[in-house]
Each structure stands twice: as structure tokens, then as C-alpha cells.
């Protein structure tokens, strides 16, 4: 029993991760601030101002409607917008109570509420019809800031939204593939060192087979995610190309194995090819994406995930997911290897 703990542990970890993935709620965020094209009477200014609608995501504005504050920020300038009416939890009518001359066209939108805390929508407001005078400075307003009062939740990310849950399924697939291909790499080196026995070759073969499965799962989960966040099942991106080519390279490994009859020669040749394949894997997935612009998070271009490193809720689900999937992958590799060896013995 004791030596089986890691196998059961892997499944228990993934079960816990799945519970977290589907049951933990999403934190609040601000989706957009959009003009309706109408004007409305402002109580603060006592004249008509353009009317906007603020749309939140998972916010709780109707709980304490009076607490909602909406501010716009551009560099050091901070100005308050008037909350005319809270329509429901996620919608509010806003009056654009800015003067005609403003210091900037583009503004970040901030909301502050007693339940949700401070939320930020970067570049959420764009003023095209105002007079721009950079010498104006808007500041000197007093705000009472609220701390968020929320249960355990995943952080809101613009565009990614609820699909952040895929992080626990997509990324560990690649980690597991790396581990399995690493095992195959070491086994291939050992195979080249040993003269006649093919035990290490069988180990490398089943590691590649299971690793390939995880690689394909990584492609599929990534494709679904790309459809949601980038709008296409596949985009031309160094990280994605690298992943696909890696899967092709290892498929080539399986083709090479199948085209060889003699077991000793097959062990030697496929070990040689596997060493090349692993070097290419490192170049494609570790080196090249760092030198190119990429949409994919964690590389150049998109800073979408810079904050998730720090978020405790995501960490609590992500690290167990990585460990759990790796353990399951290792167990699958072990069973596959034993089946391969048994088949060979029976023959």
C-alpha cells in the first residue's frame, strides 16, 4: 500500500483541483463603460451631461447602492463621475461629469464599492469630442476607499474571464509532457550506453507515447482557450507553432519505431532520434518563444498573466494541479511500459 500512495495521491489531488475549478466563484471586475448617446440631468452640476452605462462582472452594486463610486484616472489626474442610478448588481447609469477641457483622451476607469473593493478597467473611457489641454490638472477629490469583502475567489482578468479555470487543465498538460519527454531523453541516453538489452528503449517508448497523449491534450485545451480569448481555434504564434511541431517531431519518433524490424537496431536508432527530438523541444518551447513577440501569456507581448503569479487562490489550485497531473502521467507511463514489456515477453 505504502508504495502506491503517490498513485492514489495524484488522483486525489486532481479530484480536489476539479472541485476548485468548477466550484470556486469568480471575482468581480468591470467589463465596460459605454455611452448611450443620450444625455441626462446631473444633480451635481445641475445641467445635462452625457449618459453612460457601466457594466460590471460579478459585482454586487445593488447590495449597497449608495457606496458605489466611479472614478476616472489618467496619469496623476483623478476625477469622479456621477452615479445616477444603480440598475442592478452589474449595471449602473453614469453621468459623465467631466469639464469640457480635459488633460487626456484616454482614461482608466476605477470603481470602488463596499463589497467588491477597488476594481480597475484600463483605458475604459475614450473621449473623442473633448478639448485636450495637457496643462489642466484634475485632482484634489477625497474618496473613502473600501476594502473588498469577498469569499475565496479566482481573480478577474479582462478577456479571459471565467476561462481562467482552464489554467489548471491546460498548463499542467505541458508540464507533464516535459517530464515524460525528459524521462524518455534520459532513458534514450542509457539505452545508447547499454549494448544489447532494450529495457531502456521500452521505457523511452512508453514515455513518449504517454507524453504525446498529454501534448495532444495540451493542444486541444489550448485551442479551446484560444477560441474564447483570441477568437480563433488556432493563431499564428511562436509558442503554438512550437507546441504543434513538438507533437509532430514525436509522432515522427513513433513512425520511425514502426518502420524498423530488428529490436536492437530499433532501440539504437530511435534513441538517437529521440535525443534530437528533445533538443528541438527545448529550442522550440523554451528558447525561440523568448526571442519573438507572442500573444501567449508569460512570453513577450501580452502581460495578461503577470498578476496570476501573485494570486493566492490560483496558486492554491495550480500547484496541486501540476503535481497531480504529473503523478497521473507517471503512473500511466509505468502501466504502459509494463504492458509493452509483457507483450514482448509473450512474443
Amino acid at each position: 500500500m505504502a508504495h502506491n500512495i503517490w498513485k492514489i495521491g495524484g488522483f486525489i489531488l486532481i479530484a480536489c483541483v476539479l472541485v476548485l475549478v468548477f466550484a470556486v466563484p469568480m471575482g468581480p471586475g468591470v467589463l465596460e463603460l459605454r455611452g448611450t448617446g443620450d444625455t441626462a440631468m446631473s444633480n451635481d452640476l445641475d445641467r445635462k451631461v452625457p449618459e453612460y452605462v457601466l457594466t460590471g462582472f460579478g459585482t454586487h452594486w445593488s447590495e449597497n447602492p449608495g457606496d458605489l463610486q466611479v472614478l476616472v484616472r489618467s496619469k496623476a489626474n483623478l476625477a469622479r463621475l456621477e452615479v445616477m442610478e444603480v440598475l442592478d448588481d452589474t449595471h449602473a447609469r453614469i453621468g459623465l461629469t467631466l469639464p469640457y477641457s480635459v488633460p487626456s483622451k484616454s482614461w482608466d476607469v476605477l470603481t470602488n464599492h463596499s463589497v467588491d473593493g477597488t476594481l480597475l478597467l484600463e483605458n475604459g473611457l475614450f473621449l473623442s469630442d473633448r478639448f485636450i489641454d495637457e496643462s489642466i490638472s484634475l485632482s484634489g477629490i477625497d474618496i473613502e476607499e473600501f476594502e473588498a469583502d469577498l469569499p475565496f475567489h479566482f481573480p478577474y482578468q479582462p478577456r479571459i474571464l471565467e476561462s481562467i479555470r482552464n489554467l489548471m487543465l491546460h498548463v499542467p498538460m505541458w508540464f507533464t509532457m516535459f517530464v515524460l519527454m525528459g524521462i524518455a531523453f534520459v532513458a534514450s541516453i542509457k539505452q545508447l550506453a547499454s549494448a544489447r538489452a532494450t529495457a531502456e528503449d521500452e521505457k523511452a517508448e512508453s514515455a513518449v507515447r504517454v507524453g504525446l497523449l498529454f501534448g495532444i491534450l495540451g493542444l486541444v485545451t489550448g485551442s479551446v482557450w484560444a477560441r474564447f480569448t483570441w477568437g480563433a481555434w488556432w493563431v499564428d504564434d511562436p509558442q503554438l507553432n512550437g507546441a504543434l511541431v513538438t507533437v509532430l517531431v514525436y509522432s515522427g519518433y513513433m513512425v520511425l519505431r514502426n518502420s524498423l524490424e530488428s529490436a536492437a537496431l530499433r532501440a539504437r536508432l530511435s534513441a538517437v532520434y529521440n535525443l534530437f527530438a528533445f533538443v528541438i523541444l527545448i529550442i522550440l518551447l523554451m528558447v525561440l518563444p523568448r526571442f519573438t513577440e507572442s500573444l501567449h501569456p508569460g512570453k513577450g507581448g501580452n502581460p495578461g498573466f503577470n498578476s496570476y503569479d501573485l494570486d493566492s487562490a490560483l496558486r492554491a489550485a495550480f500547484y496541486p494541479a501540476v503535481i497531480g497531473w504529473i503523478l497521473i502521467g507517471l503512473w500511466m507511463h509505468r502501466i504502459n511500459m509494463r504492458i509493452t514489456r509483457l507483450n514482448k515477453k509473450i512474443k
Binding site: 515522427g252 537496431l265 533538443v279 528541438i280
Partner: protein, 231 residues
């Protein structure tokens, strides 16, 4: 001579002899070489028919590298007299596998450099030089030479592997094409930079990258070839 079991000739002279021998065999049997050149020129002419003489820079760049890639695969995949089992059975007693693989990489590098020169000249003849002004042509050609060497250092090994596995062109393509993609990615990016008029100094790191890849593939081949060769 010291008391080691070294054969009388030095490793260097055996390497040089092997390389020279490969060229002699190739030039003696002229139809093989003529076939390769014909393939390249026909491929360029097909591109000319498809894209016309006024291809956009993107199309020009893509076609040039694709033609180079397929010429390289075609050159490597043709059956070489050196690959016959009898030849290996003889050579295995005379030379070390490392000398053989280095001679192979050198031969393929020079061959592919020659092929890329032909492809480049044919390209400028048919598809025009409007995207290549002055030094741009030189830099683009330099990129082609670097790419040829990188292709040669990897394909020499893949070809040896496919020969040992008794696979033909199909196996070389299945094994080689995915592995070669990093080289092609870097080469196309470099070519596009040059055609877009980006200064050589700003994109020269791509050439350095190609050189590093050739060195890496060559080193891997040097280490691993003995395992391929022996029985």
C-alpha cells in the same frame, strides 16, 4: 609515431579524403547532379508561373525559402553510392564514424551552398530583384548560405538514420521536416527583415542563431553517429 594503435594516416587526412571522394563520385556521375539542379530551376520556374514576376516581398521571401527547403530535401534524399551496405561494411574498418559524419556534413554543406546559389540566381532571374537593393541581395544570400549549412548539419544525420532504417524519401520527410522547422522559422524571419529594409546589424542575431543551431546539430551528429553506424 607514438605507440598508440592509430592507423598511419591522420584523422584530418582521412576526413579530407572522404570529402574529396564524395565530390569525385558526384562529379563522375553527372546525371545525379544535373537532376538536382534541374529540380531547383524547375521549382523556381513553377514559382514564377504561380506568383508572376511582380511577387510581393512576403511571397518572394516565402517562395525562396520553400524552394531552398525542397531542393535541400531532394538533394539529401537521393540515393548516394556511399550509402550502399557494402560501402559501409568496408568503411567501418578504415575510418572512424566521426570522420565519416564530419565529411558527410561538409559535403552536404558545400552541396547545399551550391544549390542555394543556383536557387538564388534563378530567383533573381525569374522573379526579379525589385525587393533586393544593393547590399540587401548580399545579406539575403548570406542568410541562404547559413541556412544551407544548418540544413546540411541536421539532414546529414537524418539521412543516415533513414538509410539505416531502410526508409526512403518518405521517412526522411517525416523525420526531417518537423525537426527542420526551427531553422526555417529563423531563416524566414531573417529574410523578411532583410526584404523589409531593416538594417543588417539589427537582424544579424538571426544568423548567429542559425550558426549556433548548425553547431549544435553538428555536435549532436558527431556524438551520436557512431551509434547509428555500428552493427
Amino acid at each position: 609515431m607514438n605507440a598508440s594503435s592509430e592507423p598511419a594516416s591522420s584523422a584530418w587526412s582521412r576526413y579530407a579524403a572522404l570529402t574529396r571522394h564524395a565530390f569525385q563520385m558526384e562529379f563522375r556521375q553527372k546525371n545525379g547532379l544535373a537532376g538536382l539542379i534541374l529540380f531547383s530551376i524547375a521549382a523556381v520556374y513553377t514559382c514564377y508561373q504561380v506568383a508572376g514576376s511582380r511577387a510581393e516581398a512576403e511571397a518572394w521571401n516565402a517562395l525562396a525559402w520553400v524552394v531552398l527547403l525542397f531542393s535541400a530535401f531532394n538533394a539529401v534524399a537521393k540515393s548516394w553510392p556511399e550509402d550502399a551496405p557494402e560501402m559501409r561494411a568496408y568503411l567501418i574498418h578504415v575510418v572512424r564514424p566521426q570522420e565519416w559524419v564530419l565529411a558527410r556534413i561538409t559535403f552536404f554543406s558545400l552541396l547545399l551552398c551550391g544549390m542555394s546559389s543556383i536557387v538564388f540566381i534563378a530567383f533573381t532571374l525569374f522573379l526579379g530583384t525589385e525587393h533586393l537593393n544593393g547590399m540587401q541581395a548580399v545579406y539575403f544570400f548570406m542568410g541562404m548560405l547559413f541556412t544551407s549549412i544548418a540544413l546540411a548539419s541536421l539532414l546529414a544525420m537524418i539521412q543516415a538514420l533513414a538509410v539505416r532504417a531502410n526508409g526512403g524519401f518518405g521517412l526522411i520527410a517525416v523525420l526531417g521536416l518537423p525537426l527542420i522547422i526551427p531553422v526555417i522559422l529563423i531563416a524566414t524571419r531573417y529574410g523578411m527583415d532583410i526584404l523589409n529594409g531593416i538594417s543588417f546589424a539589427d537582424t544579424a542575431h538571426n544568423l548567429l542563431f542559425l550558426g549556433t543551431l548548425s553547431g549544435g546539430f553538428g555536435a549532436l551528429g558527431f556524438i551520436l553517429f557512431p551509434y547509428l553506424w555500428s552493427d
